[in-house]
């Protein structure tokens, strides 16, 4: 079953990479940061976080290249 295991590992790797590049792990990263630095303060919920994220982009869009 090593071939299958290898394939599964490869697929997980691709999924991890795509999600990372797309920024899907942003909330997990925020949560990890928040719990580590502000213990006891309730973090934003996922919905609040994603809203906050795009709202901050409104004020700081960042260039995309040509």
């Amino acid at each position: 079953m090593t071939v299958l295991e290898g394939l599964a590992r490869g697929a997980r790797g691709v999924a991890w990479f795509v999600k990372g590049v797309m920024g899907e792990d942003a909330y997990d990263k925020y949560l990890a940061h928040h719990t580590a630095t502000h213990p006891g303060v309730p973090p934003m919920t996922a919905k609040q976080f994603w809203r906050d994220r795009t709202d901050r982009q409104d004020a700081n869009p960042g260039a995309r290249c040509c």
């Binding site: 920024g23 909330y27 925020y30 996922a46 709202d55 260039a63 290249c65 040509c66």
Partner: protein, 754 residues
């Protein structure tokens, strides 16, 4: 050795409870200096293969060349440059220190500043720097032959483009992710700083305008293209609503849904373009289409980000990485044959129908992105430096990321070269010379006197039918020619000739998607830059949430690029022919500004014996752009010089003529008179600003030389509390250190309080 920036010795500040945060210098150097026979053999093989590939490209006098040699030549050169030249830059000029925390670590907020895995950040950075630029420029430059473009793309990236991206990324990271404009102000003083800001702003306007011109040219009179690109707007709106209200954070899921909808939009476009109402509704002329893009640009830039820009971004990132991987695979598998001379007569005589001007300097401004792109300095000093995990990773992300963009440019060049040369010229020559008809185009192309080219009107009609368009004559701008090339390569891999029209519109769609995202984001960024500058005089503009102020600033920016766009679409000379050099000049001037800032910073670090690494590309970019601007301003040849053209048309009007050259009416002649004056003034403005920035940088370098080094503009040293390898594949020592860190609990990596 005392630290230049006067920071405490790192050993004293490192946490004794943690493993080391860097591979010790002696261990790392010993590892780099070890050359076992297998390693020597591998590098010798790479060098040999690269050498053979370049020899084939340079010396081949056969009928055709296989595209695979372009891939080998480029990839082998990239590998050698990455391993040896970027390492030299790292060692002598950059001097990263992994014991030092990056802004992502010491300014961590879990949002803008967040440690990101180097491989993910590489993808992220690449997606941010690569767009339509590296796809379009090489297509237009293909008229000079396959060799000049290939050499410039590969050598240019190694010595200039990747150097700029790497250095700007590193220097900005050492300054907490400061922007290029702020760094220019810090390093060059008030005059240089202001010149850099104004130059950046105007350059942005030009770049957005010409990108928009490429889209308008690709979509004009193409009901299929207009339908499928227009559909991206409701698709993006749907994705935005989905992410906001239905499933927040499901970014990959919504991108997959969006991608499927895009494919359906392309297929649907084919069906709609067959119907009578579809043709009536979606066949739009260049001028109304340009006005549509301008109105879209304004609305898109004032809508909230979540509704349009964010989903569009997801979609274009998804498409970008997918398509580029797909194209690379296709080129390697299909291996198209490339016909045509290494260097054409147009490169020497400067009479090319695609873009006017001789090889020197116009090749180097026609291909900007892919070899050297100043615009990247805005990305390398924007998002990316705030996400880097360890200082040593900047080489992989900055230098390596740009090598990948260069490879995209090589693929675009290969795609453009793989189409029939007659068809290539018929597509890229302006309607003023082809008359816009297949007969006129065939007569024009056959009259160019190209050996081995014999174009028939039937060939043009057949190609148009294959790609599902009414006509492919005079579809200037590079995007349609690239789409034909890409469709030809892709149909060899998937679907056969019957799929050509799908692949053509797929290519048009993704180029339009990148460009519209860049237009939207560019307008927003320019608006903030404008508000920031104006707020020095009218403080109220500093408040970016002030609705009226943001509408005014957005309207000014859209008006500015919109005016240039309208100038392009109404230009009787075809727009791209005269305006594209301005795009390249603007982009290279921005690169010169970024390199000038890097030069001043490196001089402040006291690294005078290695300044040539920056001075070399800076001098080249300065010579190219100043010389190209000089020709655009002073050349007596009307096709090249803006004012010569201006004078020729003005005199013709004064003489009472009603048609002149390519302009068939008095209005068209007046348009040329007006446009050339504006383009000429823009050229003067750009070149003056760039000269101011370069001169202030040189003054700063001389001052640093007299006074000795002073690195006060860097953020203070903060010891790092984490470790990660530098490159894609960790070395043995890096793996061992990574292993030690694997046992460290996550919370001891976080610094207390912030």
């Amino acid at each position: 050795m005392s630290d230049r920036s006067g920071t405490p010795r790192a050993e004293l500040t490192e946490d004794p409870d943690l493993p080391p945060t860097a591979v010790p210098d002696d261990v790392r150097e010993a590892e780099e200096r070890r050359w076992p026979p297998t390693k020597i053999a591998v590098w010798a093989a790479i060098a040999l293969l690269g050498g053979v590939a370049w020899s084939v490209l340079a010396l081949s006098r056969g009928e055709t060349i296989n595209a695979i040699w372009f891939v080998f030549a480029a990839v082998c050169t990239y590998l050698i440059a990455y391993r040896f030249y970027s390492k030299l830059i790292e060692r002598k000029l950059v001097k990263p220190d992994d014991r030092r925390a990056t802004p992502a670590e010491y300014k961590a907020d879990g949002k803008d500043f967040a440690v990101t895995d180097r491989r993910v950040l590489y993808g992220h950075h690449f997606a941010a720097i690569a767009g339509a630029g590296p796809l379009v420029g090489p297509v237009l430059a293909a008229q000079m032959g396959y060799l000049p473009g290939t050499i410039w793309i590969v050598v240019g990236v190694v010595l200039a483009g990747a150097v700029q991206d790497y250095l700007v990324l590193f220097f900005s990271m050492r300054r907490g992710g400061r922007s290029l404009g702020q760094m220019a102000r810090d390093e060059l003083g008030v005059v240089g700083g202001w010149a850099a800001v104004i130059a950046t702003l105007t350059i942005m306007v030009i770049i957005v305008a010409i990108l928009a011109l490429v889209v308008v040219n690709a979509l004009a009179e193409s009901p299929w293209g207009v339908f499928s690109v227009a559909m991206t707007i409701p698709i993006a709106l749907f994705m935005g609503v989905y992410l906001r209200f239905l499933r927040p954070g499901k970014v990959t899921e919504v991108s997959v849904i969006g991608f499927v909808l895009l494919i359906l939009a392309i297929i649907g476009g084919g069906v709609v373009a067959e119907t009578e109402w579809g043709v009536a509704l979606f066949t739009i002329d260049r001028v109304p289409l340009a006005i549509g893009v301008i109105v879209y640009g304004f609305i898109a830039a004032v809508l909230p980000v979540w509704l349009l820009l964010a989903p569009r971004d997801y979609l274009s990132t998804f498409m970008k990485i997918g398509t580029i991987v797909m194209l690379a695979v296709a080129i390697v598998i299909v291996r198209p044959e490339i016909a045509g001379p290494a260097v054409t007569q147009f490169a020497v005589e400067g009479t090319g129908p695609v873009v006017a001007g001789t090889l020197f300097p116009f090749l180097f401004v026609t291909i900007a992105c892919g070899a050297l792109s100043g615009f990247h300095a805005l990305i390398s000093s924007g998002t990316t430096p705030k996400l880097v995990e360890k200082e040593r990773q900047t080489r992989f992300i900055g230098y390596g990321g740009m090598l990948m963009e260069s490879f995209v440019a090589i693929m675009a060049l290969v795609a453009a070269l793989s189409i029939d040369r007659g068809i290539y010229y018929a597509m890229n020559a302006s309607a003023a010379v082809t008359g816009g008809t297949i007969e006129g185009a065939a007569a024009f192309v056959n009259g160019l006197g190209l050996t081995g080219v014999n174009l028939t009107p039937e060939q043009l009609a057949q190609t148009a039918e294959n790609v599902g368009e009414e006509s492919i004559v005079s579809r200037t701008g590079g995007a349609p020619a690239l789409a034909v090339g890409l469709a030809q390569i892709m149909q060899g891999l998937v679907g056969g000739p019957g799929m050509m029209s799908f692949w053509y519109h797929f290519a048009i769609m993704f180029e339009a998607l990148f460009i519209l995202t860049a237009v939207d984001a560019g307008t927003r960024v320019a608006r903030f830059m404008l508000q920031d500058s104006v707020s020095n005089f009218v403080p109220r503009f500093r408040d970016t949430s002030w609705r009226t102020g943001s509408y005014i600033a957005t309207a000014i920016m859209v008006g500015a690029w919109g005016a240039v766009l309208v100038m392009g679409v109404t230009d009787p000379l075809g727009g791209i022919n005269t305006l594209f050099p301005l795009f390249g000049i603007a982009n290279q001037l921005l690169a010169a500004i970024a390199l000038a800032v890097c030069l001043a910073i490196a001089a402040k670090r006291g690294l005078f014996s290695w300044l040539w690494i920056i001075a070399l590309p800076l001098a080249f970019a300065a010579v190219i752009t100043i010389y190209a601007s000089f020709l655009k301003i002073f050349s007596p040849v009307p096709a090249v010089g803006y004012f010569a053209q201006h004078a020729a048309f003005r005199d013709a009007l004064a003489a009472g003529e009603t048609s002149f050259g390519t302009a068939a009416s008095v209005e068209a002649m007046q348009a040329v008179v007006r446009n050339t004056m504006i383009q000429g003034i823009l050229s003067i403005l750009f070149v003056s600003l760039a000269i101011i920035v370069i001169v202030t940088a040189v003054i700063s370098v001389i001052r640093s030389y007299r006074r000795g080094s002073d690195e006060s503009s860097e953020d203070a040293f903060v010891p790092s509390r984490r470790y990660a390898p530098a490159g894609l594949v960790p070395t043995k020592a890096e793996r061992e250190l990574e292993q030690q860190w694997a046992d460290v609990p996550d919370d001891s990596r976080v610094r207390s309080g912030h």
